[in-house]
Amino acid sequence: MSTDAPAVQLTDVRKTYRSGDEEVVALDHATLEVATGELTALVGPSGSGKTTLLSIAGALLGPTEGQVRVGGEDIAELSERARTSFRGKEIGFVFQAVNLVPFLTARENLLVVAEMNRSLDKAARSRADQLLDELGLGHRAKNRPSELSGGERQRVAIGRALMNEPRLVLFDEPTSALDTKLGEQVMELIRREVVDRGVGGIFVTHDTRMTHHADRTVEIVDGVLRS
C-alpha cells in the first residue's frame, strides 16, 4: 500500500446489471481520483449511479470493467472474501441512517469495527477512547445510541468510520437526518477529520448547501460522471 498514492482512483469503470434480457448500465466509464486529505462531494438525482459508485469505491461491489485502486492497491479483481477483509482494514463508512448498533454503547459501537476484523485488542480500545475524546464524546462513551442526540449519533458514526485508520471514508448522505445547523456542524467535523487525518473522503448528498464543504463537487447523471 503506497502512502503517496491517491486515496481512491477509479479508471474507466463500468458497472452493468442484467434485468431480464436487457443490460442496465449503472456506471458508464467513470473516472475519478480523490487524493489523501481531499473531500469530494458526489451529487446527482436518484438512480443516477451514486450508490453504485460509492459501493465500488468502497469495495462493496466489484466493477464490470475498469480499474479501482484504493491507496494504490488494485481491488477490482478481489474475491468477495478479500474485499471483506480489505474493507475492514482500509475503508470507513458513515451510513445514511447512521446504523449504530442500538444495544451497544458509543464506545462499543466504535469497537464493532475491530471486533468484526478480529483485531479487538488493547490498542483498539485506546484508539476508540482517543477518537471519542477527539470527537467530543468522551463523556458519552457509555451511552447507548438512544441516549444520544442526532448530532452525537452522527459523531459516533464518524468515529466508527475512522476506527480502522482507513485510507478512504465514504459518507452516504451524512446530513440527511439533521437540521441545517447540525448538518453544517457535522460537515465541518467531517472536513476537519478528512484533512487532519489525511484520508480521502467522498460524500453523497442531495443537499447542495453542503457541497461548499467539499474540495470539489462531482455530478453523476445516468451513470456518467461530470466534474
Partner: protein
C-alpha cells in the same frame, strides 16, 4: 460473538418468547423422558438385576417367562455345556400383596431365584422375601408379614432391594421352594414339576465366547431359546413398543424445538438485515454473524434447559405416586444434548439468508 452475547444480556426481553416456548418444551421432554425411564426401569428391574450372560426359555414360550418351562433334565444339559459357569432357576408369579396396615392391595411379582447378584443377596430362608423398595414406599417394613395372592400366602420381609421390579410390580425375591408354594396355592394351573423352573439364568466363563455358548446351550437341549440379558430385557412384554412410542414422541418434540428456534431466529434475522449489512460492510464475515446467531440460540436453549429442569424437579414433588416418573441423570444429559443440537440446527436455518445479505445494501438504505 461478543455483540451477540451483549444483545442477549441487554435485551433479554427479545428472547423471552422463544425462551418461554423452549422451557415448556424442555419440561415436556424431561417429563416424557422421565415417564419412559420410570416405565422402563420399573418393568425391567428384575431382569436387569440378574447379572445374566444368558437367559434360557423353552423354545415354544415365545420368550415369555410365564409361558416357559425349563425342566431338570434341560438344566442338566445346560450345566454340561462348555463355558457355562453357573446355572440358576428363575420363576415369576404376579399377584396382589396385602401389606399390614394398608387397605389397598399392592401389585407384587414374587420371583423365585437361586443365584445372588450384585444387587440381590443370597435367597432368604423359606417363607422370607427380599422386597423391592417400591413396597417400602407403599407401607411395607422389615419384619412385616405380607399376604400374597388370593390364597394369602404369608411372606416375611427380611430386607429391601433396589430396582428389581417386574412389569411395574414390586419384586418379592424368595427361594425356589417358597415360590413353588406361592404358585401352588394361588395359581394351581401354573404349577411346575419339582426341579423345573420357568427359566434358567446362565453365567458364562469370562474367557468364553458368550454368543457361542448361548448357541451351544440351545443345541445341547434341542428345546430351548437362550437370549442375552439385553435381549431378555427387550423381550419383556410391551418394552419394545413402549420405547419406540416414547422415543418417537420425544423425537417429534425435539423437532418442534428445532422448528421453534429456526422460526424465531429466521424472523430475528429478517429484522436484522440492515444491521448485518452494516456489519458486513465494515468487514464482518458471514461466519462471524452466523456464529453469533448460533451462540444466542444455544445460550437461550441452555437457559430454557435450566428453567425447564427446575420446573421438572418441582413437578416431581407434586406428581402422584402412581405415575412412574423417574428422572435419570442420563436423561437430563441426553435432553441437553438433543436440545443443543436442535439449537444449532435451528440457528443454521438462517445461515443461507445471512450469507446472501449484500453488504452493498447498507449504502443508499434510508432506513
Amino acid at each position: 460473538m461478543r455483540i451477540a452475547l451483549r444483545e442477549l444480556v441487554r435485551r433479554p426481553g427479545r428472547f423471552l418468547v422463544v425462551g418461554g416456548a423452549l422451557t415448556v418444551l424442555v419440561l415436556l421432554l424431561l417429563f416424557l423422558g422421565g415417564l419412559l425411564d420410570g416405565l422402563y426401569l420399573n418393568s425391567t428391574g428384575a431382569v436387569r438385576a440378574l447379572d445374566a450372560d444368558g437367559v434360557v426359555y423353552s423354545d415354544d414360550a415365545r420368550q415369555s417367562f410365564l409361558r416357559s418351562e425349563i425342566t431338570a433334565d434341560e438344566r442338566a444339559d445346560i450345566e454340561a455345556v462348555d463355558g457355562v459357569e453357573a446355572v440358576g432357576g428363575l420363576g415369576f408369579a404376579l399377584l396382589g400383596v396385602q401389606i399390614p396396615g394398608v387397605d389397598e392391595i399392592a401389585d407384587g411379582a414374587v420371583v423365585g431365584y437361586e443365584l445372588a447378584t450384585g444387587s440381590l443377596p443370597e435367597p432368604p430362608a423359606p417363607g422370607g422375601a427380599h422386597a423391592d423398595r417400591q413396597l417400602a414406599d407403599e407401607g411395607a417394613e422389615i419384619g412385616h408379614e405380607v399376604l400374597v395372592g388370593p390364597a394369602e400366602v404369608p411372606l416375611r420381609i427380611v430386607g429391601f432391594v433396589d430396582d428389581t421390579n417386574y412389569l411395574q410390580q414390586g419384586g418379592l425375591w424368595v427361594e425356589p421352594g417358597t415360590w413353588r408354594q406361592v404358585l401352588a396355592e394361588n395359581r394351581p394351573d401354573a404349577i411346575l414339576a419339582e426341579g423345573s423352573f420357568q427359566s434358567a439364568v446362565v453365567r458364562i466363563a469370562p474367557d468364553a465366547d458368550a454368543e457361542a455358548v448361548r448357541a451351544a446351550i440351545d443345541a445341547a437341549t434341542g428345546s430351548t431359546e437362550t437370549l442375552s440379558q439385553a435381549e431378555a430385557i427387550e423381550a419383556i412384554p410391551g418394552i419394545t413398543e413402549q420405547n419406540a412410542t416414547f422415543t418417537a414422541v420425544i423425537g417429534v418434540t425435539v423437532f418442534v424445538a428445532a422448528l421453534v428456534i429456526a422460526l424465531f431466529f429466521a424472523l430475528l434475522t429478517l429484522e436484522r438485515l440492515g444491521l448485518y449489512a452494516v456489519l458486513k460492510a465494515v468487514g464482518g464475515r458471514s461466519s462471524t454473524l452466523v456464529a453469533g446467531v448460533i451462540a444466542q440460540s444455544v445460550l437461550v436453549a441452555l437457559g430454557a434447559f435450566v428453567l425447564g429442569g427446575l420446573l421438572t424437579l418441582g413437578l416431581l414433588e407434586i406428581v402422584p405416586d402412581g405415575i412412574p416418573l423417574q428422572l435419570e441423570p442420563s436423561r437430563a444429559v441426553s435432553t441437553l444434548v438433543s436440545l443443543t443440537v436442535a439449537a444449532v440446527a435451528g440457528a443454521l436455518v438462517s445461515l443461507r439468508r445471512i450469507v446472501r445479505i449484500d453488504p452493498a445494501s447498507a449504502i443508499g438504505a434510508g432506513a
